[in-house]
Symmetry: C2
Subunit: 796 residues, 2 copies
């Protein structure tokens, strides 16, 4: 199974001193990794190991750690030798002990956490805190210096690395991909990112596929296909793979050093050729396939069964150390096999030989500022929305496509960042479908693969990124933001669920980094969800799902913001706001279809700042007393239906005092104690009243509004209409009608719920019911909406 080694090129052959130094660093890191998993005390084994030195709960992942340490050691070497600016994304992030060991060794850990000193006391702290209550997590996590990647949920390492490399021409983003992670869909898709990486304006990604052969309990696919088949696969992905295989440390050190040198030489040559204009061909980027045993250098056998080199080394290879003297002795022998006495001095400080390969200052992997991207992030230049705002002399007199107008503003952002290159727009082949194509006036779509004469807007240096993989889009953007740049993800509303779990992890990241003073805030992750549930009438049921909002509102409120701008100017004002923020996930839901212009920009801005407000021009209350009914709305289509309902009420029931409330920032509905944007009760009551019926037309699943408002005094009087999971290919108005969100149904709801109205307005109610029936027949006969609906305009 083991293929031939990549021979070390003579130019880069290690001499014996170098080899000894690299091995010392690697042994030290392995010792520290094992120590973190096991030791509560006696960190340098100055006395024989006793059960009380062992942690009561053994947690952590040993299996991947020696391989990660090997990569760490060798990255150190080339960073130092070549003065590289490099980060590393550790895909097998379960191996937290390894990455923490590397950071402790290079001094960045102590720099970040001064109480964990680089000496015996600090080593004891390092060991104790690992996976210990009140300590640090078992995975590579936000708490880990030098990390932009939580290694818990697998699949996103490579797209994160690409995101980091984009627009960072001097950066090398190394990326260790475990053979387990390589089986995931998001990882499998992200190999093709190399068709989007510009060798001129972007940095390099160096994928290191680490085949240790096993997952939790199984062999891995890529480790069990023939070497030549794997090689074909990687070449098919567009890479030029270098294979490093072995279990003898000295031999692997030599091969790894040679492969690293070859890869970096090749990267340098590719970049040089592209940057001097001598070629525009898509490069075949190098990558390394590193094949070493799982749990390498750990116990070879335990209780008579093989452990090293098998899945049994995945977590804790010796698991009864406190109670089984044989295990205790095996652990001691294992730890002593690294010869800690050679690696650390009397004070527990790493010996000079151990640190010989370690780079200095911000070149250390644990201290590179790209991995704490907020340090590098600049304020995004934003044009004044005034320039793009639509004229609104009269509420609702004109129509615009909100996202198309936003596209003009984004074009300017693209133009203003043409030199700085710190803004990207990502989307799964939907930028034009979502009507943002004005951006192509300022930049193209990144594309390094073949082009044909019919192609439009493709560009090697484009900053719009389109691939039909929501996962890859999300991963790119996360990597880009985490390294301190700005961006926007435009996505069909229904299909953003594809990245539910990715946004979960990003919000968890933000929740944690917000508590870490050394982590500078990063630009927010902004979603523009469009082509939404109410206007996917042509694609039908599969494209209709407004539930992403429910999903993100389950996560930490401090990091989540959700906006439903009801028209074009409100979308501009919302965009202006969210693009300035840091450390949030902002979800903006807005339509691309022609939408009435309700607010001039100045009113839109005030409305956005308030997040919710009374539209007095739309209602009929006199201001003297509470209204008879509140019509509330959130979302562009519900807003139109509510205004149409208000107009019907004004005509048919002129004496009814109707208030119209529009909600842009949905978290305003929440109690102030539950969300930073939550309204105090008195403010809520002033908007919605305590006791009048509230008919709430909401863009998504209606129960979300109940979930947000159940503690409000007026909740019992609140009746919500929204999407009830009734969808198909049909007309726009048929969609709202089928879900009982239509204007006529809302009027009926008002009549049903305002005390005393049922009898008095029975004829109006019947009229409404009749129109609904008429619409139903019309649409089935003509295939279009009833003219009085299709041609409706707001007349106040």
């Amino acid at each position: 199974m083991l293929p031939e080694q990549t021979p070390a090129s003579p130019a880069t052959a290690l001499d014996e001193d170098e080899l000894a130094a690299l091995d010392a660093h690697w042994r030290a890191a392995n010792y520290l990794a094992a120590g973190q998993i096991y030791l509560l005390a006696n960190p340098l084994l100055r006395e024989p190991l006793r059960p009380e030195h062992i942690k009561p709960r053994l947690l952590g992942h040993w299996g991947t750690s020696p391989g990660l340490n090997l990569v760490h050691t060798h990255l150190n070497r080339v960073i130092k030798a070549r003065e590289l600016d490099a980060v590393c994304v550790w895909g097998p992030g379960h191996g937290g002990p390894a990455v923490l060991a590397g950071s402790w060794l290079d001094g960045s850990y102590t720099q970040t956490y001064p109480d964990v000193t680089r000496d015996e006391a600090g080593m004891a702290r390092l060991f104790r805190q690992f996976s210990f209550p009140g300590g640090v997590p078992s995975h590579v996590a936000p708490e880990t210096p030098g990390s932009i990647h939580e290694g818990g949920e697998l699949g996103y390492s490579l797209s994160h690395a690409y995101g980091a490399a984009l627009d960072n021409p001097g950066l090398v983003a190394a990326c260790v991909i475990g053979d387990g992670e390589a089986e995931t869909g998001p990882l499998a898709a992200s190999w093709h990112s190399n068709k989007f990486l510009d060798p001129v304006h972007d940095g390099a990604v160096l994928p290191i596929l680490h085949l240790n052969g096993y997952k939790i309990a199984n062999p891995t696919v890529l480790a069990r296909i023939p070497e030549d088949e794997l090689d074909q696969l990687l070449r098919g992905y567009g890479h030029d793979p270098l294979h490093v295989t072995g279990s003898d440390p000295a031999q692997v050190h030599r091969a790894m050093a040679a492969a690293m040198d070859q890869a970096l030489d090749r990267i340098a040559a590719i970049q040089h050729a592209a940057r001097t204009g001598s070629t525009t061909e898509r490069p075949r980027w190098p990558m390394i396939v590193l094949r070493t045993p799982k749990g390498w250098t750990g116990p070879h056998e335990v209780d008579g069964v093989p452990v090293e080199g098998t899945w049994r080394a995945h977590q804790v290879p010796l698991d009864q150390v406190r109670t089984n003297p044989g295990h205790l002795a095996a652990l001691e022998a294992w730890l002593r096999s690294y010869r800690p006495e050679e690696l650390f001095d009397d004070d527990g400080r790493p010996e000079p030989q151990v640190l010989a390969c370690v780079p200095r200052g911000t070149r250390r992997l644990g201290a590179n500022p790209h991995a704490n991207g907020g340090l590098l992030a600049r304020q995004l230049p934003l044009p004044a929305p005034e320039k793009y705002a639509v004229e609104v002399d009269k509420h609702g007199a004109t129509l615009h496509e909100p996202t198309r107008v936003l596209g003009g503003m984004l074009e300017q952002v693209m133009a203003d960042t043409a030199e700085r290159r710190d803004f990207r727009l990502v989307g799964p082949d939907e930028t034009a479908s979502n009507r943002l194509q004005a951006v192509y006036g300022a930049t193209g779509k990144a594309w390094q693969a073949q082009t044909l004469p019919v192609d439009e807007n493709l560009a090697r240096d484009g900053r719009v990124m389109e691939i039909l993989s929501e996962h890859t889009c999300q991963g790119w953007l996360e990597g880009y933001l985490l390294t301190g740049r700005h961006g926007l993800f435009s996505c069909y509303e229904a299909f953003v669920h594809i990245v539910d779990s990715m946004v979960n992890q990003h919000i968890k990241w933000l929740r944690t980094t917000r508590r870490l003073s050394w982590r500078a805030p990063i630009p927010s992750l902004n979603y523009l969800l469009t082509s939404h549930v109410w206007r996917q009438d042509h694609n039908g049921f599969s494209h209709q799902d407004p539930g992403f909002v429910d999903h993100v509102l389950n996560k930490s409120p401090e990091a989540v913001r959700v906006y439903f701008p009801p028209d074009t100017n409100t979308l501009l004002a919302t965009a202006e706001h969210v693009l300035r923020t840091r450390d949030y996930v902002n979800v903006v839901v807005a339509g691309k279809q022609p939408c009435f212009d309700w607010l001039p920009l100045d009113e839109a801005r005030v409305h956005c700042a308030r997040g919710a407000g009374i539209w007095d021009w739309a209602g009929t209350e006199d201001g003297e007393r509470d209204p008879d009914v509140v019509l509330a709305c959130a979302g562009d289509v519900p807003t139109m239906e509510v205004l149409a309902a208000a107009q019907l009420l004004r005509r048919h029931l002129p004496h009814l005092a109707v208030r119209v409330v529009n909600v842009v920032d949905i978290a305003r509905l929440m109690p102030a104690e539950e969300h930073p944007h939550g309204m105090p009760d008195r403010e809520y009551d002033a908007l919605f009243t305590q006791d009048r019926p509230v008919i709430f037309a909401y863009h998504g699943y209606p129960w979300l509004i109940h979930r947000l408002t159940y503690r409000r005094t007026g909740h019992a009087h609140t009746h919500v209409r929204g999407y009830k999971e009734i969808g198909t290919t049909t007309t726009p108005f048929d969609m709202v009608l089928r879900n009982d969100l239509d204007r006529y149904r809302l009027v009926m709801d008002v009549i049903d719920r305002v005390p005393g109205l049922a009898v008095r307005a029975a004829h109006v109610r019947q009229q409404m019911a009749d129109i609904r029936t008429r619409h139903d027949s019309w649409v089935r006969e003509h295939g279009t909406d009833l003219p009085e609906v299709a041609d409706w305009t707001w007349t106040g």
Copy 2:
């Protein structure tokens, strides 16, 4: 760019008559596809085309349709020639018109929908209903005869095809993969499914990668890498690709027929070799790369810009047909180019030549029973849970690991289906981690790649399927169920979010098929979510997320069931139930860690059947009057905390009348009008009272309980504790304490909310607060739970 053709092998060269017949079928299908997009009347163009013959809203996807039709034509040919039992998964399912055309031509459409006759009147109906209100969706959908795959959300075609082929040794599952879909993560991962397909016991999958070069608005990656690079990629995936390229219909027909024959010959040879035992090597399965122009045979140019062969052909190539006479003329010319007068007789029936390639009866793609799997599904043999149930003489006196015990029952299911082979267990490398490994007593893990001596439980014919891709697991299982077999997906609770969007689509499928009388109910999709939020203390925050339940409860209630069995026997009873059901998505959340045995099996069964009930043995009420407080719980850990709280209350406040209610079936909480399992109010009130404080300890996000119960009379008195998104690597009890779900906090909640208790029980409250503080110090010092928590037992 165009590579050499795969030469037609002489043996399979088409004669001129065959060629003409295939081309006639293809032209007819293309005509019918275009007709569906455009025509409201004049289906056979018996009169000149006029604007009023055109639909008012032009919806549909032309671009992919001619390629799908080509595949349909050629599958017909080989099915008929070889008497194949075949289904086809249409990945580019946006091309609904194509698949509907094929079904109408083979008569299966009329068989399914008798009013859409195979004549002129039926053709008019076929055209009119497409993407028309009250008609049929624009995509391949549940309504489409012969389909097991909704083509709206891309990525799942290939895993569905593999699911269909598993344990169907006589079946060929063809699968068209669009080059857009090929960019998605789920699709990219699923290529490796061929390492899990047993040529002896499973059928064959024939992937047909259709490169038409463009997505909505962009070229595709796989169409723009060099042919040899693509070839390497596909060989790296383990395939032996056959390339068919062209734009001349006759030449492509010849090449496609030859490629189909070669592929099927190769499949036959692989299966023969494996089934006669002459080889056990992993086969290199054939596949076809079909490269034809997007929108092939449609308008070449429109308004002076190229359309055929570009992304502009994606949807509706001529979009102003009603208003632009040039477009109208171009449409007429386009439609007439198929020479409908040669294809359909005077009654609008397809001419014999058109139908020459069409197979008969259930061999037609639109009528194969595998694509209506409920027709084939048998009742799953289930052993009596009695055999596996744990003895419970006394509530809470013993501990068992629920999933481990379930594993024993599943082993028997595996054993009892050893011959029938209609049950599979899927999971992302977590079967053993989730403690279901008893199943390996009856079957192995499917694995066709290399094996080594250290491997355990791998088997070519294994029916446990493990790959580190939740997407692939889900896709396999969906395909397996949709073709009428049974299965269970065991998954870490947090990471099931990875398939949020897939389960969305499956529930949408079920919601729709439940309304189609011709679709027989299929076995339910069963999730076992374990390694859950409360016991991921070792992996930490990234592994802690109970929100999947919230996600599925947004979908159609008729198809969604969610269970929280609180102990081992209840899990067995739940499993027995869900494995018998049809047409549901059943979500079962259960722990793998030792859990108190609360109920003997007979009580567990009754409790499951009721879905929620009073545990009178756990409470202190006298039955004469309403209790002072209700302690409610759902989930294994909350149940333990509630019982511990009940025990504390019994000891410290013996006169307090406490009721304990356990909820297994969470939908019971919903109003009866909103979910088929919802309780009527009187039943709810009888359990929870109308006015007593309810302290509800819930497994997941607490607001879910509010969302489900906000209409209940007692809702205002309901206080919910659950997971508040506070997670890390820590001890089990520290997790519940940090989230205020712990027994001491629950007792404090009782004291705070039972009127009059605050003063009387202030000392008890203080005691509780003190223990919490003490735990906090203890856990940070010792790394373990306070002994009185760790050693707690139920004493009643």
